[in-house]
Amino acid sequence: MIRSDILKDIAPILRDHLVICNIGLPSQELHMIDDQPSNFYMLGTMGLASSIGLGVALAQDKTVISIDGDGSVLTNLGTLPTIANNVADNFILLIIDNGSYGSTGDQPTYAGRKTKLENVARACGCDTVVTCAAEETGEALQAAIDARKMTVIVAKCESGNIKLPVITKDPVVIRERFMKAVMA
């Protein structure tokens, strides 16, 4: 399975929750698979999906799922200690780990070599870290939502991308409808 297969699988679960989706292909894929006002698409700023998601989770009570990639987490590795030390039990960080920078041509990341992000998360103090195979992602995600316990999920999948268009929605529209979904 590649990342877009995981997103297709978990779209029915994501639909009921606030989602912060990583820059580039992950946002484009989720936008095409199941566009929802409760999805915040990052159009720029690589690395901050987890930080934005934690901020939303700390500011209100609804469940927030940040969909991140291994490359983006490596870009902002300082996010893991911040997450660990500011526990928000309505926050789930879902790292789709395909061992590559998918949006830029599948160059390998260090997470695809010696570095294990699940071990990094644990070393940073994250209490609940789950590793799963791509096809188990939905199950792991639903369990984390039901547990209402801050969880980092590392879902391992193959690298690979599908062809799809860029998001042309205005950023202020994306932000405004997301904020209405927060308040709904």
């Binding site: 159009l43 720029g44 901050l48 934005i52 934690l54 901020g55 996010t79 911040t82 932000r175």
Partner: protein, 168 residues
């Protein structure tokens, strides 16, 4: 009332309830006040762009955010300011220690100080410079302005404003 207390009271009076900080020696007093205030959720960040991500999230989650950081952070955060805070039109008061100004003892700080206002100007970020303690009287108005226009706004606070570093 200390100047640090006054700044934090102004934050609270303007409903700022989520503040992320990256420390600077000059900001130690104000960070202590942020940490101690019961109406503020204080989330220390490891890097300023991470802090701006947290602030963007907090804003969308319904809280008014602010960031407290050093001016060297402008060099770190340009991409985030442009592609997140400005692109999505989000308000962000940035209380910034303006290192490398008069009374600065560390030469390297001057290297970033000489670029600070030029960079902020290039980014079209409204910028205010607190040099004397009385300048802080405008802080409340600056916060109101920030949340009126939904922009990042910089408040540069130099060593003279904070009372310097003691005898040199």
């Amino acid at each position: 009332m200390s100047i640090s207390r006054k700044l934090v009271e102004d934050f609270v009076a303007n409903d700022v309830s989520f503040i992320t900080t990256v420390p600077c020696k000059q900001l130690a007093g104000v960070i202590d006040e942020v940490e101690a205030h019961p109406d503020i959720l204080h989330i220390p960040a490891n890097k300023e762009d991470e802090g701006m991500g947290l602030c963007a999230g907090a804003f969308m989650g319904g809280k008014r955010p602010a960031i407290i950081m050093q001016n060297t952070a402008i060099g770190v955060t340009i991409n985030t300011l442009v592609t997140l805070t400005q692109f999505y039109r989000m308000p962000l008061p940035m209380l910034i220690s303006y290192r490398g100004e008069l009374r600065e003892p560390v030469a390297c700080q001057v290297e970033m100080a000489v670029h600070t206002k030029a960079l902020l100007s290039q980014l079209n970020i409204p910028t205010y410079h607190f040099h004397r303690e009385a300048d802080a009287e405008e802080f409340d108005t600056i916060l109101k302005y920030t949340f009126m226009c939904n922009k990042p706004v910089a408040i540069l606070t130099d060593a003279s404003f904070w009372g310097g570093y003691g005898d040199q």
